[in-house]
Amino acid sequence: MPHLDYEHHREHEHENQKHSPAPILDVRDLSVSFGKQEVLKDISFEVDEGEIMAIIGPNGAGKSVLFRALMNLISYDGEIKWREDVQIGYVPQKLFEKAELPLTVKEFFILKSKNLFFKDKHLVESISHELKSVGLEPEILNQQLVNLSHGQFQRVLIAWAILRHPNVLLFDEPTAGIDVAGEGSIYNLLHKLQNERGMTVLIISHDLNIVYRYADKVLCLNKENLCFGEPKKALTSEQIERLYGESAFYHHAH
């Protein structure tokens, strides 16, 4: 079944390429340093419209830093070229350490409003639409963010990111806290968004099974670019060993 999806997706992508051959994202020789510490070095890759690209690498490999550079939140060397009509939705790993703020789900969405103070009718209407598309009931709107389960919280973050229909989604997967069943359905959801809305998805992932199953491309990162390409070709066991070290390889290969 995943295999069929994969084939279908390749066709879909070819169709898109006929109309817009330029990649939606083109990154050349990207380097980021914090002070004297080099966090990313000479990263180059490109992403076509409608693709799912996974970014993998050990802790501290600079994966989240790459996202911040892609969103132009930090300064960098090199070139990051997004296609001009790009709108980015971003799903962070977490929001806050400890919530002092009794924010409800609905209020969290309203914070995205372009209106500074007055009610944004259009936004309020689209909130329940987006909640439905991530598989949440409207009743969740009046709950406090801190009282949500990890799975619900992830979905709320995704719904927040896809509100106003961006065409690119940057998804920073949480390292812990989602059980395997929950994880599976989150990825199905991302896959559905990719299929139905033609969204381009960049995902920082910690689970190689997920990468093989869902990603069209994979970027292995450990400060520098270690591999890039189709998961089945680029992600050989030697590469994985190089990336995580031997112990981590056995851990992931179960």
Binding site: R68, M71, L73, I88, G89, Y90, P92, L95, F96, E100, L101, P102, L103, T104, E107, F108, I110, L111, K112, S113, L116, F117, N142, Q144, V146, N147, W160
Partner: protein, 262 residues
């Protein structure tokens, strides 16, 4: 100072200025509490003192000296936090406490007590009008800023990802807070102003179930504790500043009883 020295409508104006200053302070205080910068907020208010001292030396209204120093300090706080990775608590705690010491040296003895603990009943009619107008402006601006500010506190990266500037909202917030502290100095003084901003918010946090209820409770409690404090102070001839803070503490204790166990 007994109130019967004032015309009745003058007392009303002064009461109103106290209530509106409390309205602005307690609304901003909600964000101070959420951002866990209660100490910063408290210590920032001490910066007013050398400003008051200098203003008295060059013979201008102390409130302007206080406002100028507070605005500079607010900008400094923002700048230090932006440029260094050091905890603002540590830097500001050390630096601004020094300004308190400097202030005590600069401010003449007879003015010192009033600067530190305030005296609402000594506020002149003209000052009260200024406090009322500026408080309303601060409150409205803070209300407009609140969505952006909340998002930048909850998730700075999300705020940036939708093109808003968390740095700018934070600076705006600090400047509004500085102005609000300056207004509160005549009312309850620089030492107690921190408490007026924090107390309503921490009490409101115990009672609230959403951002809206939190901000509303904070403002309602701030106005209520100030009103009650002023009335008690005028009836028993107490200094108003400490009376306001103590009535706030009573509300805080009551809010603990209603605290939701989550």
């Amino acid at each position: 100072m007994p109130i019967d020295l004032f015309l009745p409508n003058q007392f009303l104006i002064i009461l109103l200025s106290g209530l509106l200053a409390a309205l602005a302070a307690s609304f901003l205080g909600a964000f101070i509490v959420v951002k866990k910068m209660a100490l910063v907020g408290d210590v920032l208010s001490h910066v007013a003192l050398p400003g008051i001292g200098l203003a008295l030396l060059i013979n201008i209204d102390p409130i302007y000296g206080a406002a100028a120093f507070l605005l500079i300090a607010a900008f400094g706080t923002w700048f230090i936090e932006k440029k260094t990775t050091l905890s603002p608590d540590a830097i500001i705690g050390a630096f601004f406490t020094a300004t308190l010491a400097l202030g005590v040296l600069l401010v003449p003895n007879e003015e010192l007590f009033e600067s530190m603990f305030g005296n609402l009943f000594a506020v002149r009619f003209y000052d009260a009008i200024v406090i009322v107008i500026v408080s309303i402006i601060i409150f409205v601006l803070a209300l407009i800023l609140s969505r952006r500010l909340t998002l930048s506190i909850v998730a700075p990266d999300l705020a940036k990802s939708i093109g808003s500037k968390p740095d700018a909202s934070y600076l705006g917030f600090l400047l509004l807070f500085a102005l609000s502290v300056a207004l509160g100095i005549k009312l309850i003084g620089s030492i107690l102003m921190g408490a007026l901003t924090i107390l309503p918010a921490v009490s409101a946090r115990n009672l609230s179930w959403s951002l809206k209820s939190f901000l509303s409770f904070s403002v309602i409690l701030g106005v209520f504790m100030t009103g009650l404090g002023i009335i008690i102070a005028s009836v028993f001839n107490f200094p108003p500043g400490p009376t306001i803070i103590l009535s706030g503490v009573v509300f805080f204790v009551i809010s603990l009883i209603f605290k939701k166990h989550d």
